[in-house]
């Protein structure tokens, strides 16, 4: 795996049942769905390998019950995987001792939960300062830090409130602030917005992106909502029945769905939002161009300009070198996409 991988999973299994380890070795570490059904085991995570790069938002997407929560808990060893390897910053997390694991969690990991998991007996301030409290940080310091993150998530003025006095969205802001209080290096979010209603969810997603633009964390984000995945992800892993079916950028998934299952998810997605100039550019034609766009610009963002200009744009990479050209027609084709178009 590459140098900048923050977290790597190699062939991780989590099987629920009487004697999962025995079951796994009985079937040469590759039991089939039939084996499981026959012997009464549940394969919540099956042979998952993935790598999360430093600073990226890695989204794990899948329908309810496909094993997302189990997988993300294996990554932080909240659940002990049945087999496999989890490397965090190159160290095998599954081989660390209890003390070391506690230290890693105290200083390097943060997690946000679907149902917020706020402590009912503590105020907002107490909740946010809690991770620092268990580290033994003094009251002054931890409360000062807690106030900083509370401000970051926009909850100033509510420090003295108890969780039950807050709305769902506000509670999750507390959950987010709390997980950020220790300045984690990796940030796990297990369906953080699923329990919120659509409007608030949208608002929280924007808020989340704003935060990430400031913080640049390495993020593992779980969701069952493909729209949410597309909006937030640098890369998406699609899960089904405990397995990862495909991993890629939103664009890759839309352009080359590996299976019908993945294609089914991508069907309803407006392509203009996902595809970038690089995906539809042609070779340089020599015609006069009306402007320049980056390879990574989304079609939706350049459409208005190119349609008005009436001439092709040249496509440049980050270095400024011209790598191709997009035409008005190509853009229009995406905008008026038909099912399975392109």
């Amino acid at each position: 795996m590459s140098e900048s991988s923050k977290l790597v999973c190699n062939n991780v299994w989590k099987i629920f049942g009487e004697n999962p380890a025995g079951f796994l070795s009985r079937h040469n570490n590759a039991p089939t769905t039939n084996n499981m059904a026959e012997e009464g085991y549940i394969g919540a995570v099956r042979d998952v390998s993935l790598s999360v790069a430093e600073g990226e938002i890695f989204v794990i997407m899948g329908l309810s019950g496909c094993g997302k929560s189990t997988l993300v808990r294996c990554m932080s060893r909240l659940i002990e995987p049945t087999a496999g390897e989890v490397l965090f910053e190159g160290r095998d997390l599954l081989k660390t001792g209890v003390k070391e694991l506690i230290e890693i969690r105290r200083h390097k990991m943060g997690m946000v939960f679907q149902h917020f998991a706020l402590l009912p007996h503590l105020t907002v301030l107490g909740n946010v300062a809690f991770p620092l409290e268990v580290q033994g940080v003094g009251r002054q310091t931890r409360e000062a830090r807690a106030r900083e993150v509370i401000e970051l998530v926009g909850l100033v003025g509510r420090e003295g409130y108890y969780p039950r006095e807050l709305s769902g969205g506000q509670q999750q802001r507390v959950g987010i602030a709390r997980s950020l209080a220790v300045k984690p290096e990796i940030w796990f979010l297990d369906e953080p917005f699923s329990a919120l209603d659509p409007l608030i969810r949208r608002e929280m997603q924007d808020e989340f992106m704003r935060l990430q633009n400031v913080l640049h964390k390495t993020i593992v984000f779980i969701t069952h909502d493909f729209d949410e995945a597309i909006r937030l992800a640098d890369r998406i892993a699609i899960m089904n029945g405990g397995e990862i079916i495909q991993t890629g950028t939103p664009e890759e998934l839309v352009l080359n769905p590996a299976t019908d299952y993945v294609a089914e998810f991508t069907r309803g997605i407006p392509r203009a939002k996902v595809l970038s100039a690089g995906a539809i550019m042609g070779p340089v034609s020599g015609a006069t161009v009306a402007g320049q766009v980056l390879v990574t610009t989304k079609i939706g963002d350049l459409a208005a300009d190119i349609v008005n200009a009436g001439a092709p744009f040249s496509v440049v990479n980050k270095g400024g070198a011209i790598v191709g050209e997009v035409t008005r027609d190509a853009v229009l084709a995406v905008l008026v996409e038909k099912e399975g178009g392109l």
């Binding site: 939960f113 917020f116 402590l119 105020t123 509510r158 796990f188």
Partner: protein
């Protein structure tokens, strides 16, 4: 099991094989009963030579523990002494504060160096607690309950009782919490402790009073230890339940925040489980109060001693007043601890205040204590409620009972004799005449039908145990008293439950009545029946019925109410009358739940039955009671275990039936 009752080797041919098996088994039992008297005398009277002297072994073991057992660093006797010391210190402190004052010196030369809390201070403090926990209504209720104690001259005894409760409750809670936590952390420990809890909750308290008496002597400390042991099991269960109910995300958050196991428990899980744990605390308070009178048999003193003493000397008036005092104390403490358990969760403060503004009740309480103490130096009225202002209703109760007894003697006596001669005595004779072999066999057969061979083995073995330790006749008396009481309790309770399920207003009244009945310590039930019917089986039975009535009503009501409404609608649509709906739809569906209520009724009846030994029954309760007076631990424990086994047999049989029936009806 060599019982002839189940040696029925016939292959069932007909549709319902169990019918044939039962007919054959009952037939065999009848045959044995008829021809057995001469030919098989051992089947009727368990031969003395066969009795296994378990009780002697236990007594010897306890003696050995006390006199010879050496744990290496210290002896067992030293261990019991140090346990007693740990409990005695805080008790001494609280009792000095509430009851005796801080004294220097011994006996009658003692000089008071610091007075006890004034009665005014105590009443104010408990009222403030009510105000803090809920509202002024609770404050008033609690204050009036305590005022009764002062006005009716029960103060000194009540404060002794209150002191022992104040000490026993924290120990019971802490012990229960510790065991519950251990069970939560180790599945093995939980599996090990469950059957012990089952047994602890069915063995009558009297049974373990004896070994405690021997190990710790006749003292308030022994009484508190018995109270703690008695009150702890529900706290263990509730702790286990509460910790398991903590949402997994909360626990996971704790782990992710990097809590050590200890931090996870104390900073995350226990606070998150607090509201359920408080229910456990309320239970411990109530059970401790329930033990007050019983504990006075091994030295508790206080109100319990007064009641017991009055009961023994048949001083009706004194007994009623002290009993009422216990009841009011129980109601006050129950409502207080419930209010604390249900206190609404905290809300944010608008502005921050100083200590006094934040804790007004606490500060006021301390202020009152200080003022009354200071005033106490000059005014004796502060120290003790003036005797001239004390009231007593003792004479009134005595007169009332006397006049009832004079004017209605014939009716009461006639009623009693009618029931005794026509129902109670024949039933008792019938049970005592049964050959034990047949009963053991039939019990095992019942277990087999309802729960397979495992249950058969369990019920058969438990029944056999009772015979083998030589307690068969007394057990049959227990079964007779318990059985009749339960029958009558059900005959009264189930109709009330049915009525309450069909009428909202009645329901509210009935619920309130049951709630109050269940806060009364069991002993209180004895008083009125003894006054009216003197001692004996009949009085005992009435007390048991009154005590055991509540679950029969509650479960019937609940069972009927939980019948799915669409079934009732369907029946109405099919043209059933209200009556038909009740008997053809609701009752059959509610029957499993009602059976659980009957089960509960049996459990309560058994626990009350042991207490009624005080009014002269001749059952296992009497056996335990005799063991207590003779300080014979083996005898008491064996008889107590027999009561527990009777309870367990009926519990397992009824539960097996109810589970099966519910499954058949698709209710679960």
């Amino acid at each position: 099991m060599n019982s002839p009752a189940i040696v029925s080797g016939h292959r069932p041919i007909s549709v319902n094989p169990w019918l044939i098996i039962w007919v054959v088994a009952l037939g065999l039992a009848v045959v044995v009963s008829l021809i057995g008297k001469e030919n098989l005398p051992w089947a009727f009277k368990f031969p003395r030579e066969w009795v296994i002297p378990i009780s002697v072994w236990i007594s010897d073991f306890v003696k050995w523990l006390l006199n010879e057992f050496d744990l290496g660093l210290f002896t067992f006797r030293e261990l019991t002494r140090s346990i007693a010391w740990v409990i005695e210190q805080p008790y001494w402190l609280v009792r000095s504060l509430l009851s005796t004052g801080f004294l220097k010196g011994q006996g009658s030369d003692a000089v008071e160096i610091f007075p006890r809390l004034s009665w005014l201070a105590v009443i104010s403090v408990v009222s403030l607690m009510g105000l803090y926990a809920k509202d002024w209504k609770l404050a008033l209720l609690v204050g009036l309950c305590f005022l009764y104690l002062a006005v009716f001259g029960q103060w000194d005894s009540a404060m002794v009782t209150l002191s022992s409760i104040i000490i026993a409750v924290p120990f019971g809670v802490a012990g229960g919490l510790a065991l519950g936590i251990a069970g939560f952390r180790s599945r093995r420990f939980e599996l090990a402790i469950r059957p012990v809890l089952d047994l602890m909750q069915t063995v009558p308290v009297f049974a373990y009073l004896v070994p405690i008496l021997i190990l710790f002597g006749f003292s308030p400390v022994s009484a508190m230890i018995a109270t703690i042991i008695y009150a702890m099991p529900p706290m263990v269960r509730i702790t286990l339940l509460a910790l398991k109910q903590v949402p997994s995300e909360i626990t996971e958050f704790g782990s992710m925040a990097g809590c050590s196991p200890r931090q996870l428990l104390w900073k995350v899980q226990i606070p998150a489980a607090k509201s359920t744990l408080m229910v456990g605390v309320n239970q411990v308070v109530m059970l401790s109060l329930n033990m007050v009178i019983i504990a006075s048999m091994i030295g508790a003193g206080g109100l319990g001693f007064d009641v017991l003493n009055a009961l023994k000397r048949l001083k009706i008036g004194e007994g009623v007043e002290a009993g009422l005092a216990i009841t009011l104390l129980a109601i006050a403490l129950d409502r207080l601890s419930q209010a604390y358990a249900r206190r609404p969760p905290p809300v944010h403060e608008v502005t921050s205040h100083g200590f006094i503004r934040r804790n007004p009740h606490l500060c006021l309480a301390f202020a009152i204590i200080a003022v009354t103490w200071a005033a106490g130096a000059g005014m004796t009225v502060m120290n003790a409620y003036p005797e001239t202002l004390q009231l007593t209703t003792g004479a009134f109760w005595g007169d009332l009972v006397r006049s009832i007894n004079i004017n209605y003697f014939d009716q009461l006596d006639g009623f009693k004799n009618f029931l005794l001669l026509n129902i109670m005595i024949p039933f008792k004779r019938f049970l005592l005449g049964l050959p034990w072999v047949a009963v053991v066999g039939l019990v095992a057969l019942g277990g087999w039908q309802l729960g397979g061979w495992r249950l058969a083995l369990l019920t058969g073995a438990l029944a056999l145990f009772i015979a083998v330790v030589g307690q068969w006749p007394k057990s049959m008396v227990t079964v007779y008293l318990c059985g009749l009481s339960v029958l009558i309790a059900c005959a009264i309770g189930i109709p009330i439950g049915i009525a309450a399920s069909r009428n909202e207003r009645l329901n509210r009244i009935v619920q309130a009545a049951i709630d109050t009945l269940q806060t009364l310590p069991s002993f209180v039930y004895l008083m009125p029946v003894v006054m009216l019917f003197r001692v004996g089986d009949f009085a005992a039975m009435l007390a048991v019925i009154a005590y055991a009535l509540a679950p029969a009503i509650r479960y019937t009501n609940h069972g009927l109410r939980q019948v799915p409404p669409h079934l009732i609608e369907a029946a109405r649509a099919a043209g059933c009358t209200r009556r038909q709906v009740l008997w053809k739809v609701q009752m059959p569906l509610a029957l499993p739940e009602i059976m659980l209520g009957i089960n509960q009724t049996i459990m309560m009846a058994l626990s009350m039955l042991v207490i009624t030994a005080l009014v002269g029954t001749r059952d296992l309760g009497q056996e335990v009671y005799i063991a207590l007076t003779k300080a014979d631990s083996g005898r008491g424990i064996v008889a107590g275990v027999c009561v527990a086994f009777i309870a367990i047999i009926s519990d397992r049989l009824i539960n097996a039936w109810s589970t099966r029936r519910k499954a058949e009806l698709g209710l679960e």
